[in-house]
Assembly symmetry: C2
Homo-oligomer: 196 residues x 2
Amino acid sequence: MPRVSQDHLDARRRQILDGSRSCFARFGYEGATVRRLEEATGLSRGAIFHHFKDKESLFLALAEDDATRMADVVAEQGLVQVMRNLLDDPADGGDAPGVDWLGARLEVSRRLRTDEEFRARWAQRSEQLTAATRARLKWQRDAGNLRDDVDVDVLTAYLELVLEGLLSHLAMGLPAAHLGSVLDLVEESVRRHRGG
Amino acid sequence: MPRVSQDHLDARRRQILDGSRSCFARFGYEGATVRRLEEATGLSRGAIFHHFKDKESLFLALAEDDATRMADVVAEQGLVQVMRNLLDDPADGGDAPGVDWLGARLEVSRRLRTDEEFRARWAQRSEQLTAATRARLKWQRDAGNLRDDVDVDVLTAYLELVLEGLLSHLAMGLPAAHLGSVLDLVEESVRRHRGG
């Protein structure tokens, strides 16, 4: 297969993922009908399901894609900074996950709760963010920036729990008034306390 | 109207709320059809909608009922203890909100995201928990147990954010391995630091 064809396939895949992300975020998994997915991606159902076996596979690929992007940002800047980016401009595109991502993430949460089979399929894909967060924290501990009286796994679970809360809060459109100060507090509570 | 009749009405209302809670948690708002609500409550649609104008009103009453119960426990024991209770036994009935409550709460989150009108109706009812948490923290600060370098409103927002994360985590059925230690860390980070 000539190279140009692979590029074309990749671009199509990207087009489908980006379009369907907003569609799932807006209408939810069940509400994202094939007709709506066609409208959102600008492609026919034939083209969409040439790239993804079915709607479930498309949704999982999307969630996996988002988890990968997020893990990249965590590796570079840390999870607290990712949360600050979310606060600064949740609708921002670029590297930071945007509101569409928030919506898709909440759909993942809902389906994990109601769908056992989905839970099993998702479990294999959701380890990336935890691994990236843990690696970053270990690096910070070695650099002497992290408190050393609490296990790195506990600090990882703590930051992930705050992230879950933040995603839920933002996705619900609740006021963000104090959240910058809250993240200062979160950051301080994982740092090494200097002096007496 | 004789007294016994009011007791009867209250009991019926309670029966409808308890039955429909598990129904909304299991099937989601849209999936909780009138037929399923009849099965879950053991009452006819006529009886159900004698007490509640429509499904939306029933769902709001349920969410409000849960918020009131939670605010009562917060006032008595504090929000961190409420979170510990959730960890100890999320399926427990009694005072602590159980898994049905978690499910209903996630449904609230989802509808807040997708339904503007619902968001407006809910906003008027969701202040109870914040008020109870803030009152408890002020009381703790006056007793000298709380750090005094961070505003009570920020500490309130912090604890609520952790609660949101915990609810989301538990509702998704994710592992709770480190969460007890995480809550220790959360509690420590709002307390007054003693000594040097």
